[in-house]
């Protein structure tokens, strides 16, 4: 379609008037104290004062158990998989042995088995997140329900948050995640069209499946964990997470740093543990 100059000016003029009208509607909404997020919440959406996780590693037995949780997350969130490039890998949830998950707590008399026992690690959604504090653009921020979010459209890729996070939970897109691996296969095997892919040069991490919570679903890792990952409201004394925390001994990663992580680990294990 081609238009001449006169037509173009007409359309441009009309859109300007309409644009101004649009602005006044927005202003009237602002006066009413409405925010975009409050416009139409899904009634099925899950809400909490402070979301948190309990990870019971005694319920994670085989390699398959860990892989199922990680794959569920990475597949639906279009996390690129680098086969041979560990330096540039992107990961939201993965396994780490006890001695690496809780450095400084292992000791010489601990059984080899326990030292090597794998834990699932992901963003702790800290109550006082160091990453949020340092971000120069508020690209990473804490929601009212405690989820530490990442706005991949605002992130400038300075990686201050990666330096600040004491849990190594954040990944940077050093290479184009929509691109191909060294062997020519796409980094994202099967794209989930309902979740955005990222562009190069931004930081990403676990977002506690905010998109699933808003339609009433549990986080993907919890859903497939066979009860090893329990998700719930830490501020609600009757929630399942609080009941577990009240009855079992739980530990958190690096609590001494004061970031107040929201993942509680139940070690459990064998009778002699």
């Amino acid at each position: 379609m081609s238009i001449n100059r006169r037509q173009f000016l007409k359309i441009a003029g009309a859109s300007t008037v309409l644009g101004l009208g649009g602005a006044s509607v927005v202003n009237s909404l602002k006066r009413g104290g409405l925010e975009a997020s409050q416009m139409s919440p899904d009634p099925k959406g899950l809400v909490a004062k402070r979301w948190g996780f309990v990870v019971d590693v005694s319920k994670l037995e085989s390699e398959e158990d860990y892989k199922r949780c990680a794959d569920a997350c990475h597949n639906i969130h279009n996390v690129p998989v680098f086969k041979n490039d560990k330096l540039h890998e992107v990961k939201w949830i993965w396994k780490e042995p006890f001695e690496n998950t809780f450095p400084g707590t292992e000791h010489e008399y601990m059984s080899h088995e326990f030292k090597e026992k794998n834990f699932l690690v992901f963003c702790n959604h800290c109550a006082k997140p160091a990453c949020v504090k340092v971000c120069p653009t508020k690209a990473t921020f804490k929601r009212k329900d405690g989820i530490v979010m990442q706005d991949m459209h605002r992130c400038i890729g300075c990686r201050f948050c990666m330096a600040a996070c004491p849990f190594g939970a954040r990944s940077f897109n050093y290479l184009d995640p929509r691109g191909k691996d060294t062997d020519g296969t796409p980094l994202i095997k099967v794209e989930n069209k309902t979740f955005p892919t990222r562009m190069i040069g931004v930081v990403e991490k676990c977002t506690a499946c905010y998109e699933r919570l808003s339609i009433g679903q549990q986080p993907a890792c919890a859903e497939v964990s066979n009860g090893a990952i329990v998700f719930g409201d830490l501020e609600d004394p009757n929630s399942e997470v609080r009941k577990i925390i009240a009855t079992k001994y739980t530990i958190r990663r690096k609590p001494e740093l004061g970031t107040q992580p929201s993942i509680y680990y139940v070690i459990g294990g064998s009778e002699h543990a």
């Binding site: 992130c155 400038i156 996070c165 184009d176």
Partner: protein, 390 residues
């Protein structure tokens, strides 16, 4: 005054074109990084800051060191620095320019740099660092240009510039303090989590910056009629000496706390830097080179006989400068990431592309410095000529 930079000898123009050539190579390397992303560097998930941020950190110190001339000259009326205070201010402009470029080339999404201004975040130290750095650049541009302009007309600088000069003193301290706070406020990185970081940064800056400045002053004396005089050089050399003593002392304080307390997390990064960790030893030779150079430089500076010998003095200054560069430009930033948050060691080596970009940025800094110094020298040679006529 800019026209002074357009008239020069054949050697001047060769130097300018050599710099432009290096900048061109760096720019092509940057285009490659632009296309493929920071994956072309040696950076990784574990060592997420490297050479760029380290150079930035080091050069903030060089920029701040101009204050070591401004304080004696403007606060203590130490006239001997009169001829070279402008060289300090222009060095600061060149250094801050490089700082800004190093931040820019380190960004994953450089086109979004204005987000820092659009979404100002006073809780972020990086926000404040951008504020103080750009402020420092403007202060030095205005002060340097105005005082030199007044000098050309052989009149005293206008009264309004005095408050700016005084402001530049705490401002210089602020740029390096805020830069230290980028590191010193982060939980979980033991090498950085130390209250003495800002003090150490300033000491290292006031050693390395003036050391570079003396070398520049000596070079300027060789190629032009602008002679700062022996006394000015010796005074600056004493400043370098005291600052380097403080720098080494502060570093040893870190070593004491980390090793005597015996807390593993505190000792690990230092162990990695000086002895290697889990068989990884990439930085060990560098750190020992820095150690040897630091003590060699100090030794030559402390004894008056060697310090006053202008054949030996440059060796001492180069030693101090290189030692401080290795300490901050390699050890401090990289050491903070090793071991990682899971007590594992991932080492970092800059790639050729990364080095080409780094050298390119340094060439931009040198070009800015060359042009500014050419102007300053031109003006000073003119006024000196006039003085002889009268």
């Amino acid at each position: 005054m800019l026209e002074k930079a357009l008239i020069g000898s054949k050697r001047y123009w060769i130097w300018i074109f050599v710099l432009l050539g290096i900048i061109g190579v760096g720019f092509i390397a940057y285009l490659q990084q632009w296309k493929y992303g920071l994956g072309v560097t040696g950076l990784s998930r574990d060592v997420s800051w490297g050479f760029y941020i380290a150079q930035f950190t080091f050069l903030v110190g060089v920029a701040a060191s101009a204050v070591m001339l401004v304080i004696p000259y403007y606060l203590h009326d130490y006239k001997k620095f009169g001829k070279i205070v402008i060289l300090g201010e222009f060095l600061a402009i060149s250094a801050v320019t490089m700082c800004i470029l190093f931040i820019f080339v380190d960004m994953g999404q450089p086109m979004r740099i204005m987000n820092v201004v659009l979404h100002p975040t006073p809780g972020s130290v990086m926000f404040w660092d951008s504020v103080v750095l750009s402020g420092y650049l403007f202060i030095n541009l205005i002060v340097g240009w105005t005082t030199l302009g007044a000098d050309r007309k052989s009149v005293p600088p206008p009264a309004w510039v005095k408050p700016l000069i005084y402001l530049s003193i705490p401002w210089a301290v602020s740029i390096h303090t805020v830069t230290a706070f980028l590191y010193a406020g982060i939980p979980g990185r033991h090498l950085w989590l130390t209250a003495i970081m800002a003090a150490r940064f300033l000491a290292s800056a006031f050693a390395a910056g003036p050391a570079l400045l003396i070398l520049l002053v000596m070079f300027v004396r060789k190629v032009s009629k602008l002679d700062a005089g022996t006394e000015a050089i010796q005074s600056l050399a004493k400043i370098v000496t005291y600052a380097m003593i403080a720098n080494v002392f502060f570093f040893l304080l870190e070593v004491f706390t980390a090793t005597y307390s015996g807390i593993p997390g505190h000792a690990h990064p230092l162990k990695y830097l000086f002895f290697g960790l889990d068989g990884h030893t990439a930085l060990v030779p560098w750190m020992w080179t820095a150690t040897v150079l630091a003590f060699l430089g100090l030794g030559l500076l402390i004894f008056p006989a060697t310090r006053q010998n202008e054949g030996i003095l440059p060796i001492a200054l180069v030693s101090v400068f290189v030692a401080a560069w290795i300490d901050k430009g390699m050890g401090l930033v990289i050491g903070g990431f090793i071991p990682n948050m899971f007590e594992r060691v991932t080492e970092y080596t800059p790639t050729a592309t990364e080095l080409a970009i780094t050298v390119g940025v340094y060439a931009v800094g040198l070009l800015v410095l060359t042009v500014l110094y050419k102007i300053a020298i031109g003006v000073r040679e003119d006024t000196a000529g006039e003085a002889e006529h009268h």
